[in-house]
């Protein structure tokens, strides 16, 4: 169970860091930029892929920090990037684990 605790804790830490950083970047009273952020997208893909597929507590934990960083952004930001990262990670997981 320790690995799941580490994953949860790292996700929470990443989310808090992402929320704080996102509010520093976007202080507007409304969502000003709804375009896909490529750098956030890359962080999200790497994070979710490592989190779901590494099988290693430390690498997986690092992955969940990155995934949480993007997913924990200010409401209105990081949604599309998180969705792209999650879909790619789930597809890779299925490709690795399903033997057709």
């Amino acid at each position: 169970m320790l690995d799941y605790l580490i994953y949860l804790l790292t996700f929470v830490i990443g989310s808090i860091a992402g929320l704080v950083y996102s509010y520093k970047l976007h202080g507007e009273p409304f969502v000003a930029d709804s375009k896909l952020n490529i750098s956030y997208c890359i962080i999200s893909i790497i994070g979710w892929v490592l989190g779901f597929n590494s099988g290693n507590m430390i690498i997986g934990g690092a992955g969940f920090v990155m995934a949480g960083f993007v997913m924990g952004s200010r409401p209105g930001y990081g949604r599309k990037e998180s969705a792209v990262g999650l879909i790619i990670a789930v597809l890779i997981y299925l490709l690795l684990h399903l033997t057709l």
């Binding site: 169970m1 320790l2 799941y4 605790l5 949860l8 804790l9 996700f11 929470v12 989310s15 808090i16 929320l19 969502v31 997913m71 924990g72 952004s73 200010r74 409401p75 209105g76």
Partner: protein, 283 residues
């Protein structure tokens, strides 16, 4: 001991994140951006560091003690459930004590809102009837109250959701009544401000939120464990996400019922499902 500690922290973190997701989904259904998923956890942690005030009308030491009993009750729930996979009867007892605590937290506060919530907590004990009926039906089907034995039964005979689906519906109604902003959540009706929690501030509210997060996790874990085949961690995660999504969608689109309607709806659904399941088992 380490296993208990790890499981309690997991229950708190996972429960908080799922309750945060619950709020987020409700907001999105209502076309609002909603708070970040982590907001419920941040709120819980924030309350642990806020100043605690004690209203003059409270009955000490009950007012303080009841909060710690609430947290202790759900820690017992984690120990009996995910840690030891013990008896369903103890978990039923945990839920019964939770209802008593809800009642007494309201009555000890001295606030009219807390007292009204306390009276409604007695009415909302109706949710225990579907839970008790579901436990009885699971026993009739599997011949055991022990969660480990129920898991073993399902690995041989298939999941209980297929053989006694109406019992699962009853249990799901209990989950729905436990979820925030539920149509059955008469103790926390916004007409009563925050119900039995209205006069609990600071550290005391932190403990209440801690217990609520754990209870949400434990109840979902129990539902998934006794009605679905043995699940992996990913299975539990997906199951909890799906339940959170469904309850959030229902709560976002359903107004809160008045106390009489809430009780009658739950008892009626419980009775129909109980009789239906008995017919399925014996005929």
């Amino acid at each position: 001991m380490a296993d208990i500690l790890i499981n309690v922290i997991i229950a708190f973190l996972a429960g908080s994140l799922l309750l945060g997701l619950h709020r987020k989904i409700m907001a999105r259904v209502q076309k609002r951006p909603g708070p970040p998923v982590i907001q419920h956890l941040l709120h819980s942690l924030k309350f642990f560091f806020k100043e605690t005030a004690f209203p003059k009308t409270v009955s000490m030491p009950f007012y303080i003690g009841i909060v710690f009993i609430l947290a202790a009750v759900w820690i017992v729930g984690v120990i009996v459930g995910p840690v030891t996979k013990g008896s369903l009867l103890i978990l039923f007892g945990v839920y019964a004590v939770y209802k008593i605590v809800e009642h007494n937290a309201g009555s000890s506060s001295g606030s009219p809102y807390g007292k009204a919530s306390c009276v409604r907590a007695v009415l909302s004990a109706a949710t225990e009837l579907p839970l008790f009926a579901a436990v009885v039906l699971v026993y009739l089907k599997t011949g055991s109250m022990n969660i480990s034995s129920i898991i073993a039964y399902q690995s041989v005979n298939g999941p209980l959701i297929l053989s006694i689906p109406l019992a699962a519906v009853m249990f799901f109604i209990l989950l729905l009544s436990k979820s925030p902003y539920s149509p059955f959540g008469i103790t926390k009706d916004k007409a009563l401000i925050s119900g039995f929690e209205t006069e609990h501030f600071g550290l005391l509210r932190g403990y209440i939120m801690f217990a609520e997060s754990i209870s949400w996790y434990v109840m979902m874990w129990l539902f998934l464990t006794i009605f679905f085949p043995p699940l992996s961690a990913a299975g539990y995660l997906i199951g909890m996400l799906v339940i959170t999504f469904i309850t959030a969608f229902i709560n976002a689109t359903t107004p809160i019922l008045n106390p009489n309607h809430s009780v009658m709806t739950q008892i009626t659904l419980g009775a129909v499902c109980f009789i239906g399941t008995l017919i399925m088992i014996f005929i």
